[in-house]
């Protein structure tokens, strides 16, 4: 029994490591292939620019990774991104003189957490499935974004605000550094913090988690609040890059973010996944987008290629899970026959 458990964990670890390599290998192959065609692609300035581009989707994808591992979706983040960026831009002239930059960021992050808590409360308190609850909230946040902005684009080009996403340190875009730090924090949270372990436990089996004394509602609230915070960070950085906010921003953002998470190998069944893989997937998608431009790929074909890559990743996830299941079943059958022999 003990032995089989060790080998199970070993197998799982091996699978995780392999998966990590898979996304990374795909990224490496794509990068080398495009660089071979156009050496400018591999220029440091272009690599740094791609890394910077990956941050906006990538940061939101960290929160979504935790949410999907937990066994839920948040479809509201695109609309929430719009609402929070509108809020950031319209509140900044009032808030910033009082709070300073750090305080301003904290307020927006808290607003994100608050909106996330509303999502979480609907799921945990009213028992509305996350898919439906966040779909409903998607419309609420979108409407709120239009109300807060009066339907108008909001501009903000103050130096302190533009510095958030437009600067670089020794050539490395600040947004990418923020992204890297958040990936590290997300990984630590998922693998080292008790909350991360609770998220994985609920994702694996809510029943078992409850039996183990984990409060599923409280974990739900925490997960959605975290998604809200990551969305808030992405919203402020985007608003800084684009020098303002518009209430129509972020349509289909949630789908792109979910696609990134799944491309990173996180299982839609919940329970397992990795923040680092998600980050690599975000870089992979940004690299793909950039290579379209470098290789002059027909704009219509681009969408087909992205769809194809996602479908390939999804079907491989499915095949991998089926292979794992059948292997587990076979192992169990062998164990069973062994036991039968002993009792017989």
């Amino acid at each position: 029994m003990n032995e089989s458990r060790t080998s199970f964990w070993r197998r799982l670890a091996a699978a995780a490591a392999w998966r990590e390599r898979t996304v990374f290998m795909a990224l490496a192959v794509l990068f080398l292939a495009v660089s071979a065609v156009n050496p400018r692609f591999a220029a440091l300035s272009n690599v740094l620019s791609i890394l910077g581009d990956s941050a906006y989707i990538g940061i939101a994808a960290i929160g979504m990774t935790l949410c999907i591992i937990f066994g839920a979706f948040d479809l509201s983040i695109g609309a929430l991104l719009a609402l929070l960026s509108v809020a950031a831009v319209t509140w900044a002239p009032v808030l910033h003189p009082v709070t300073g930059t750090a305080g301003f960021l904290a307020v927006i992050a808290m607003a994100g957490a608050g909106c996330g808590l509303v999502n979480g409360a609907l799921v945990a308190g009213l028992r509305i499935p996350a898919f439906i609850a966040t779909l409903g909230m998607m419309y609420v946040y979108r409407g709120a974004a239009f109300m807060l902005s009066g339907g108008q684009d909001q501009r903000l080009a103050d130096d302190w605000f533009l510095a958030l996403a437009n600067g670089d340190l020794a050539g490395v875009p600040v947004v990418f550094m923020v992204f890297a730090v958040l990936v590290l924090l997300g990984t630590l949270l998922l693998n080292r913090h008790p909350l991360g372990r609770r998220i994985q436990a609920v994702g694996n089996s809510p029943k078992a988690a409850r039996a183990a004394g984990i409060s599923v509602p409280r974990t739900t609230l925490a997960v959605f609040a975290i998604v809200g915070v990551f969305t808030a960070i992405a919203a402020v950085l985007q608003a800084s890059l684009l020098r303002g906010a518009q209430p129509g921003r972020g349509v289909e953002f949630e789908l792109y973010v979910i696609a990134t998470v799944v491309l990173g190998g996180t299982s839609l069944d919940g329970g397992k996944g990795s923040v680092i893989n998600t980050a690599i997937a975000a870089v992979l998608l940004a690299t793909l987008q950039c290579s379209f431009s470098f290789l002059t790929v027909n704009p219509y074909l681009q969408k087909i290629i992205i769809g194809g890559v996602l479908l390939a990743a999804f079907s491989m996830n499915y095949l991998r899970e089926r292979a794992e299941q059948s292997r587990r079943r076979r192992a169990q059958r062998i164990k069973q026959t062994g036991k039968d022999k002993v009792t017989g």
Binding site: L30, A33, D53, S293, L295, I305
Partner: protein, 316 residues
Amino acid sequence: MKSIKCAMTTAAMVLAVAGAGCRDAKSPAGQQTIGFSVYDMKYEFFQMMEKGTRERVQELGYGYQLHDQKSDELQMVSGCKSLINQGAAGLIVSPIKPDALGAVVDAAQKAGIPVVINDIGGGGTPYQAIVISDNFGGGKLAAQHVIEKLGPGKGRNVAIIKCEPSATYAVRRGEGFKAEITTNGYAVTAELSGHSKTEEGYSKMKNILAGAPDLVAVFCENDPMAVGAAQAVAEAGKTAQVMVIGFNADGVALESIRAGTMAASVAQFPEKMGRISAELTDKILKKQDLQFDDPARREIFAPVKLITRETIQDAK
């Protein structure tokens, strides 16, 4: 698991090979390249603009690089930056969000390459030039059509239904119409905003007709509002009395012109606009002087044309 790697590898290879083919055809070694970042290739207007830009850029002997923003401001910024990173000698942008152009123009300036804006707006950035349709002139054309058909005004009433005030360029259409029509003796009895929408064009037209039953013409700053206004006019049984003129020669407007409910629409020529933007970029790269129609705003006007039932074949 191996297969996912295989799939990705194959995809990358296919991409690379496809790209290699494209590049060889389009930019031989040593040639300067002009990049064009387009608003969205799903719209016919921008497909035509892209066609004109591409053809003229290649005729002028440059390599050509296209990027599609797909109506996404984030892609606009990252795509333009990647055109710059590819070493484009010049950049043409028809921006989805002019306000978000700041980061693009900054990066281009850092790389020392000129930026020419095509349509939409420049967001107050230090671009080298902007190409826009002659909106004021288009409004004047509409007014001249009314005068041609009905003779001098003698105090007769006309109306204008406007886009939202933030649509800076569309607003000039109404100004052109107003300037021309009032100098010819007509009176602008009503000037209302229909917020660019068909339903508001309809409701505002009903109000206008109630206040001025003797109205002889209405100019709408875009076609959706003109189509709505034409419906209100038809419902009041005044199609023969009120000339409805729109702007842009949209498909629905052409249908209304064919059916006789609308008198005319002013057509823009995106393909021509694309060609102009390519020529401007070429001139800037050759350090030649530009002839601006509005030097203060660095604007260059593209020609427009009045489309009536008789000239409907010119709209395409």
